[in-house]
């Protein structure tokens, strides 16, 4: 894997857009990893929550949109409640999903819910 790091206008626009949509200051993450350490769904994720934030910091829009993690995050806010910088990753994930939607990357649509579950699911 190789990233050619380039923080140009486009990348900054992306980072700022994510910050604006999510209301979180993604610049402030210092990569302690606490979010990932406590995330109940981390074991299913292809990139960990801290890596998700990291990729935002690197302006890696495409890698983010391609990641499964976006749709595995259960919005449980465990990360938010323990993050030393108060970052709410669920909000950030939601912001990325929002940007991904027009690109047709919704992971699991309502019509895919099995009928027998649909009845019971709250």
């Amino acid at each position: 894997m190789r990233t050619i790091l380039k923080l140009g206008k486009q990348e900054h626009r992306f980072i700022d857009r994510i910050s604006e949509l999510s209301g979180e200051n993604v610049y402030s993450c210092y990569q302690c990893g606490r979010c990932s350490a406590g995330c109940p769904m981390a074991f299913e994720m292809d990139i960990l929550p801290n890596q998700l934030i990291r990729l935002v910091q690197l302006g890696e829009e495409e890698a983010l949109i391609a990641s499964k993690t976006l749709f595995i995050c259960a919005s449980c806010f465990t990360c938010q409640s323990r993050c030393p910088k108060g970052i709410n990753i669920a909000n950030v994930a939601e912001a990325i999903r929002y940007l991904a939607e027009p690109k047709g990357k919704d992971h699991f649509g309502p019509d895919e819910v099995p009928a027998e579950l649909a009845d019971e699911l709250p």
Binding site: L21, P40, Q80, N91
Partner: protein
Amino acid sequence: MKLHYYPGCTLKEKTTNLDESTYAAMKMLGYELVEPENWTCCGAEFPLNEEKIVGLAAPARILRQVEMEGGDKVVTACAFCFNVLKQTHIALLNDPLKQKRINAYLKDDIRIDPVTKERTTDFPEYRGDVQVLHLLEFIQKEIGYEKVRSLIRRDLGNLRAAPYYGCRLLRPKGETGIDEPDDPSIFEEFLESIGIGVVDFPFKQECCGSYLSVSLPDAASEVSYRILRSAKLNGADMVVLSCPLCYYNLDRRQDRIREKFLEFTGMPVLFFTQILAWALGVEAEILGLDQHFFDPRPVLGITDKAEVAS
């Protein structure tokens, strides 16, 4: 005493046991629950995104309705609805601009009476004065544990319950939670007041798997299993909770958990209002105990219909 109560759709359609036990328990505590007229779904998920702010309109409409009916507070028994309403309340309270935008939607409401076909327009704005309380908070702050204790009719002293908070009662951290996200005690205090033994277990604030039971059922089962296992390891006879989604994952999906984790033998999962109503002497039939995947009646000592009232 009358009290505004927002049940939410799930409680009317799927987890009627939570709704009915809430009514029964509150009646025993001397409250008549009043549902806001024409209430709608709260949206089930607080919009996490500035672009989806329209999502605030539905919960705000509910709060506005309570306000229109002269209420200054609304209680919920569902942790999910509580979370959405409370977050909405705080978002509007702290952000006048948001409040203005949402009120612009609310003012344009039109309601057509299903019977008379009469149109109502010209709705007022939401002023932001409705306090949103989870029933656990209402019991703690307004009813008081002493009063609950004095009304207990059944002795549950030989049972041990593990209070399961899940996500929505505690997080996001800050004003929305009903207690410290990693050191909560309100559920424990509640259980103590109804005279049941309390089990402290380290998974009480862990996530149940949420909607991933749809998209990633295996992962969700694993997460749910860890919670139930931890409760069991710490000596619980049952898990008590307040969220229909947690109930779905922890009780209704025990079939899948058992398939995946053969050593798991099952665990009764009850809504806090069910155990409260039971302790207050409500008859078992009303509590919807037969709807559970893992039948909680044996552990409560209910054999057939022979109830032990004390």
